[in-house]
Point group: C3
Chain length 344, copies 3
Amino acid sequence: MPVSTYSAAYLADFVQGELLGDDCTISGIASLKNASGSQISFLSNSRYQSELESSKAAVVLLKPEMASSAPRAAISVNDPYLAYAQISQLFVSVLLDEGISKAAEIAPTATVSSSARIAAGAVIEAGATVGAHAVIGANSVVGSNASIGDYTQLAANVSIGYNIRVGERCIIHSGAVIGADGFGFAPSREGWHKIAQLGSVVIGDDVEIGACTTIDRGALEDTQIGNGVKLDNQIQIAHNVVIGEHTAIAGGCAIAGSTRIGKRCTIAGMSGITGHLEIADGTHVTAMSLVSRSIKEPGAYSSGTAIEPHNSWKRNAVRFRRLDEMHKRILELEELVKKLAAKG
Amino acid sequence: MPVSTYSAAYLADFVQGELLGDDCTISGIASLKNASGSQISFLSNSRYQSELESSKAAVVLLKPEMASSAPRAAISVNDPYLAYAQISQLFVSVLLDEGISKAAEIAPTATVSSSARIAAGAVIEAGATVGAHAVIGANSVVGSNASIGDYTQLAANVSIGYNIRVGERCIIHSGAVIGADGFGFAPSREGWHKIAQLGSVVIGDDVEIGACTTIDRGALEDTQIGNGVKLDNQIQIAHNVVIGEHTAIAGGCAIAGSTRIGKRCTIAGMSGITGHLEIADGTHVTAMSLVSRSIKEPGAYSSGTAIEPHNSWKRNAVRFRRLDEMHKRILELEELVKKLAAKG
Amino acid sequence: MPVSTYSAAYLADFVQGELLGDDCTISGIASLKNASGSQISFLSNSRYQSELESSKAAVVLLKPEMASSAPRAAISVNDPYLAYAQISQLFVSVLLDEGISKAAEIAPTATVSSSARIAAGAVIEAGATVGAHAVIGANSVVGSNASIGDYTQLAANVSIGYNIRVGERCIIHSGAVIGADGFGFAPSREGWHKIAQLGSVVIGDDVEIGACTTIDRGALEDTQIGNGVKLDNQIQIAHNVVIGEHTAIAGGCAIAGSTRIGKRCTIAGMSGITGHLEIADGTHVTAMSLVSRSIKEPGAYSSGTAIEPHNSWKRNAVRFRRLDEMHKRILELEELVKKLAAKG
């Protein structure tokens, strides 16, 4: 594939920054440490400042107050990290087959835009809709009556269940499953009686869904993922969950049924949120925490204990199981000492 | 799709309940809050009792003692939640293609019932068997010599390995993988030496397996999933695990190798059970708990700490690492105070 | 399928051991408890010693000092567990179709070795390479310009992204996703701005990757998995992670972005490692631990609390949230008691 190149002046315009130094041709983007003399780099974290001087990058994205420190040219911009994100998109190079593969299977009653790309092995079931410029990856399945919005991209081996609605400009990675049945059963003498999961999943616009992430359909109402939500890999979203706009959830989290998560929350990896809770807008949960009650005040929340050598952990964990007893012993000591002090 | 409708009298019969009020036509099921005037609803949790009076539902499933409180008709039934589960099944509406797709790939030596439905892109490998009325979803794979029981349904993109046996009336959701190799290696000087996983997975009847759940084949014997077991999404079941009948496991749990879980247990989400343990019938494990020893007495078990603001958590987590030392200081204080009291 | 059989003498040679007793024909391998009279078994853990005497196994793999205890023949070998691993490979019997299925879809610009096996429904995209004796399972996808090394096996429904490089003799299980985008976004006023993930994933030789495990491509540089690494099911490896040779990670773990894990580490199930850390060679992490700081000294590390009955856990968890306060009360008591003792 030919490599895309851009002039430094073009890139400065593209990120609404100012080019300081001579214009030149840029063929890629890399870290300060690894950039070659034809690449652009960026400094967004002062931790890497020491790498600036020795970087071979032709141009560096820098905050205005740092712009004079570039070893060669700089692009002065208020948010170098955002500028990096914007420029990174220019250097994506994936080979995508054009058009609709003859090895895809499209039901006669499905509606597929002529500008969509459907890869080999993809299956578009009866009544489904695929929007303009959408991409359906190899061996992905769009279930009956599901709809995929314009410009939305499904990677390979994605499963979209029947009746599911996915918005525009979404990205859904391989192995993701949208619209499996929620986990709902009524106990009976003979065992668990399945509750039909009659709701759908409604996914807004500009949502990204990671590899092997699963979002179940609602029991009666719909599971809802707001605009701009970003879900990492291996996340489990149970039935009837509602996730507010621009919330980001990292890998390995699970959200139990009917919980409502607010807007612009961040949930760090491997955290869990139990069912039927309300989580306030702007809540942050640290890694491997279990949220088992509603959170009404935005802020950062945690549970668990900190890593330590196994031998000391073992001794401490034994004491944890006596923690309430330890508390009682402190209470008794306080009583005794108070009496002794009174006597004394 | 035409919507199914039922008379309220029919539904009362169907759940062995009693219709109180006028018969009417029911076109769906919904929550008390969202039900329209042609839908049936239910009250199973007293928490929602306040929504009963204002519900527009044509009929409400209620316990006998509550049956007179319905705003319109009621169906009096001992277990309204179970009745809801039963009726919910009547309103499932999925478009399923009939018969065996020409775009499926079925090995000449496979045996597929003429009443089975095989979707586009499905692959049935050599020697495999698919039972009567079974459904194999789009792009699912049934490995060589595997067998799928009557009425069992595989959603899209399911992977069933070679030699795996799945019982009758099971439901397996997208992305599930039954029969990958167990994680078994012998250490050697050159690194890890793979142990061939020669066992199978044997899945009973009426089992439900969630999206992206993985169940590994046994090393020498078989991994076994009992009748009526319900597994949510993203669960990992290691080799040689045995799960007793009617046990339910929520999303994101992992069960390590050779552990035996009893009957009618419930394991809440994101919990782990380490290897070679025995878990008694009727054990309940709360969310994000780690079970690292066998459980002989049924009951509820937990580990971990409770969620709190990050700043206070940080202070407490620091102290946890000194918990054994705190205990020793309490012991010393008790000694000292005892001496002081004796002196005094 | 015909069952493979081997003479006991051949097996003794195969594992560089010594046959003690009469030669015989061996048709399989099983545990001491379940072995039939035509099977070989092994004793590697003294815990199972009691099962030796009553075992029906024709031959038992035993350490030299135990070799005389076999009920019938023995193969004396220094490491019976390793010998079991070696012999187990002889009894694998999977029906694999030969050659390249007509129902596979191979891009004209892909390069597939004539000795490779490509199953039905597999898709090999433009510019991809599949090495000699490699196996691509049913409905797996090898993305554009990706390369699969000689003798590497992909099970069914595996997703390999564009440009990904997989070494030789690797095994990748169903549902695994190699090369989805890393989770990288720059915050902006309008929400999250996607950072293009321009790196690849480079997987060494002799790597095993479990079912539904996901390994993301790097943001700028490559995510790297060293030779001989073994990854269980449902593991999440974020962008730019580097995993050293022969490290083994159990099911359900997640490794956050840019963390470097050393060689010959073992990470037990459901553990997490946060981003940008360095983990020393030979580190062991116990189950469900969260590693949130770099580890410089090899050894075993843990976090969390131990399982206990829910009612006592609840009382103890309440106290954990007052642990820092408990510590202060102990300090105060120590002060008071010191004063009282001084007075006394």
